[in-house]
Amino acid sequence: MADETTELFEKAVRLHSRRLLAIARAVVGYRASPEDVVQQAVLNLFEHRERYDWREPGGLLRRAVVNEALRILRKPKMSVVEEEQVPGGAMPDAAMQNREMVTHVRAAIDKLPEHFRSALVLCEYENLSYADIAKTLDASVPQVKTWIFRARRQLAEMLQPYYQADRVK
């Protein structure tokens, strides 16, 4: 029984790590190591692995990672993780433009309140329904709708100059 659980756990980790790491990256940004967030969240689940149903662990893992990320963000002091530098050299125009866009969007997303950011990531990266987002964030569906709507509006305001310049091009 215990071996079966461990086996299912390992399978779940292999299957979901990529998306969990992306969620952690989007939620914690540069304020903590996303790898540490995922590892800690997953190990917390592993410690009490017998309690959970590992046959469909996607929601469980996602919830654990988001909660761990929010917990880390609520800590008073945090070390800033250095942004990885892409090796220099000539970049194609499209790639350069994309990189510029990513930098702007990332900076704007980092400025959002934690819950807005988490809800937006789960909605637009994970493509979860409002109900699933509400379950993951332990909130009501109307609350989640509001968070996502406000997050989008705040992002639009922050990125307005960039969008205008882009539209002019």
Binding site: R18, L21, E47, V102, E124, K145, F149
Partner: protein, 192 residues
């Protein structure tokens, strides 16, 4: 900024999130067909969304990063499992060790209490000094005066140990002199 009101924006976002019911969807499509401002707003929202998608694609980890993470998690989980397995054994060992320590400590305390001061120096063939304890009174000492056969002839009580020992010593000296005197007289009798 947008050519439509907030509630229409919300409706359009829900449409892009695929969160509208069939009825709502049908109504919105009808409006989009006749309201150019609503269509313009939808295009703007789509543009914003695509720029966010570029960001979300950028945070997608590479296979090497995922492999490294899975490797780290597996090792950490193995360590945790090893520790969980051995924690039970450690608990048992700690309990046994605690029992042993308590047993040794208990035996030590028991033997310490058992040794009263006068027991070791109070035994003589002719005079024994024994403490007599009562709950309310302080400790008293008794010296037994015995004959040669060991029968108790009298008991003298003292308030402290030194007085009892002094009495016992004096009594012993007196008895020794008495014995020597009897022995001398016997020799003299043999000569005459």
């Amino acid at each position: 900024m947008y050519p439509v009101a907030d509630h229409d924006l919300e409706l359009l976002e829900a449409y892009l999130d695929d969160a509208l019911s069939d009825q709502e969807l049908s109504a919105l499509r009808d409006r989009l067909a006749v309201e150019p401002s609503l269509m313009a707003a939808l295009r703007m929202l789509r543009d914003e969304r695509s720029s966010r998608q570029v960001f979300f694609q950028s945070i997608d980890p590479t296979p090497a990063e995922v492999d490294e993470l899975v490797f780290d998690i597996r090792h950490a989980a193995e360590r945790k499992r090893w520790w969980q397995d051995h924690r039970r054994l450690t608990r048992w060992a700690s309990a046994v060790a605690a029992c042993l320590v308590m047993g040794v400590a208990g035996a030590f305390v028991y033997h310490s209490w058992d040794k009263t001061p006068l027991r070791k120096n109070g035994e003589t063939p002719l005079a024994n000094v024994n403490p007599t304890n009562t709950v309310s009174a302080p400790t008293r000492y008794a010296v037994e005066v015995t004959d040669d056969a060991g029968n108790v002839m009298a008991v003298q009580h003292f308030d402290n140990e030194s007085e009892a020992n002094d009495f016992r010593r004096d009594l012993r000296l007196m008895q020794q002199r008495h014995r020597q005197a009897n022995h001398t007289m016997t020799i003299m009798n043999n000569e005459f």
